[in-house]
């Protein structure tokens, strides 16, 4: 069962299981208790799609985060990445994927209708599209921007050279995007 988890193969799963058995009191028992709690309580936030332990997650419940900004992300892993940076102080909306013509994923398969219904009641003034810089991600971003046209300000994350990146190692697409988004110094 462990070998089926992402990032683990049969060998690494065996090592992990042996480690847990050897450290039963220190690792296995607490881990099993935590896993049981997570299995019983973890659920998707009915408002934004984040994972939490209640119907409405901590971020949606926090009045300090009601600053008029809403960040749109593809999945929960992206939300966690944004939270790790600690820069964004508004609320989120997790789409649960991207539009894909080839895979027949349309707006109704994602949480786009729910997003539209949040804009007015939550007094959102700016929607920040933090979607992947892929064809599907940007197609989704353009679709959402079209839907929100005239209602709120819509911005998206910049694309270009990563911090610590060397130009020599960048693909031509990233260099093109960075050059198109250049700014005065």
């Amino acid at each position: 069962m462990m070998a089926k988890l992402p990032g683990l193969g049969p060998r690494s799963a065996r090592r992990a299981v042996l480690h847990m058995i050897r450290k039963r009191a220190l690792v296995l028992t607490p881990l099993s208790e935590v896993m049981a709690t997570v299995a019983a309580t973890a659920r998707e936030c009915l408002n934004c799609g984040n994972v939490g332990t209640a119907d409405i997650c901590d971020i949606c419940n926090d009045p300090k985060r009601e600053n008029g900004q809403m960040c749109i992300v593809e999945d929960v892993a992206d939300l966690w990445a944004m939270e790790r940076s600690g820069v964004f102080k508004g609320r989120y909306h997790v789409l649960g994927g991207t539009l894909s013509a080839l895979d027949s994923i349309g707006p109704d398969e994602l949480r786009i209708p729910r997003l539209m219904s949040r804009i007015g009641p939550e007094a959102v003034q700016e929607v920040i599209l933090a979607l992947n810089a892929t064809i599907d991600g940007q197609t989704t971003a353009h679709y959402i921007a079209d839907q929100l046209e005239g209602q709120v300000s819509v911005t998206s994350l910049a694309q270009g050279v990563p911090i610590g990146g060397e130009l020599d190692y960048l693909d031509d697409g990233t260099i093109t995007a960075a050059l198109n988004a250049r700014r005065p110094v």
Partner: protein, 241 residues
């Protein structure tokens, strides 16, 4: 079994934790799928965006195996398309229609050449819609549903062609249409290579080609629906028109 070719990436699907299954359109091997080991890695994933030009080497033990690709990115077209909504919708429509219409492993070298030329025009939104229309006509031709717009199917006249027969795909002149003109499809001048090809004319022409995609080509492909990306491109063009 192995071969090496150049190709346009049509789609990428995650396969396992680190690999991807890609579909490429190559001049000599047609639409061909294969596994790319490490295709979801940080190094390779940015290059595996639809529309990318790749140098691909395919290898498999038997010919009917899916096989594995070794890819060398030649140029990315995603960056040109992402910033412009019309280009992005157009790119999605092209790769969607190719994945929809092309049979697997059947070479279509002429269509490949036209596709490569069309995708290289991405970002030039003033001429791209006309290029797309001509490409769609070439796609229909290659799939065996080419339109014959050389002369009127009724009178044989080569002037005054205004309609297309929805059944035969042949041009019909205004005089030849008679009382049937309500049932015929429009033939705007841009389909004949005439005029300035404004957006509304191109839209009209794309509705005509759409009829043949939907009612002639799709039924041959087990009635699969036309990719939604084509409709989204038409919507985007209609907004601009």
């Amino acid at each position: 079994m192995d071969w090496r070719d150049t190709g346009i990436l049509l789609s990428t699907r995650k396969h396992g934790e680190t690999s991807a299954i890609i579909e490429v359109f190559t001049p000599d091997h047609g639409r061909h799928a294969g596994v790319v080991r490490g295709g979801t890695s940080r190094k390779l994933a940015p290059s595996l965006q639809p529309g990318a030009q790749l140098d691909v080497s395919w290898r498999a033990r038997l010919e009917d195996h899916i096989g594995a690709f070794t890819v060398e990115p030649q140029r990315s077209r995603a960056a040109h398309a992402m910033g412009d909504r019309l280009s992005l919708a157009g790119l999605n429509a092209v790769v969607g229609l190719l994945a929809f219409a092309l049979p697997e492993r059947e070479p279509h070298p002429d269509l490949y050449t036209r596709t490569e030329a069309l995708l290289d025009l991405l970002g030039q939104s003033d001429i791209w819609p006309l290029g797309y229309l001509r490409w769609e006509l070439a796609l229909l031709e290659d799939m065996g549903f080419g339109l014959d717009l050389s002369c009127c199917a009724v009178t044989g006249a080569t002037e005054g062609l205004e309609f297309v027969s929805p059944r035969s795909g042949r041009a019909v002149s205004a005089a030849g249409a008679g009382a049937w003109k309500e049932r015929l499809l429009p033939l705007p001048p841009c389909m004949l290579g005439q005029g300035d090809a404004p957006d509304n004319e191109i839209l009209q022409a794309l509705r005509t080609t759409g009829h043949f995609l939907e009612h002639h080509l799709a039924p041959q492909l087990r009635g699969r629906p036309i990719p939604a990306a084509r409709g989204q491109f038409l919507d985007r063009l209609a907004r601009r028109a």
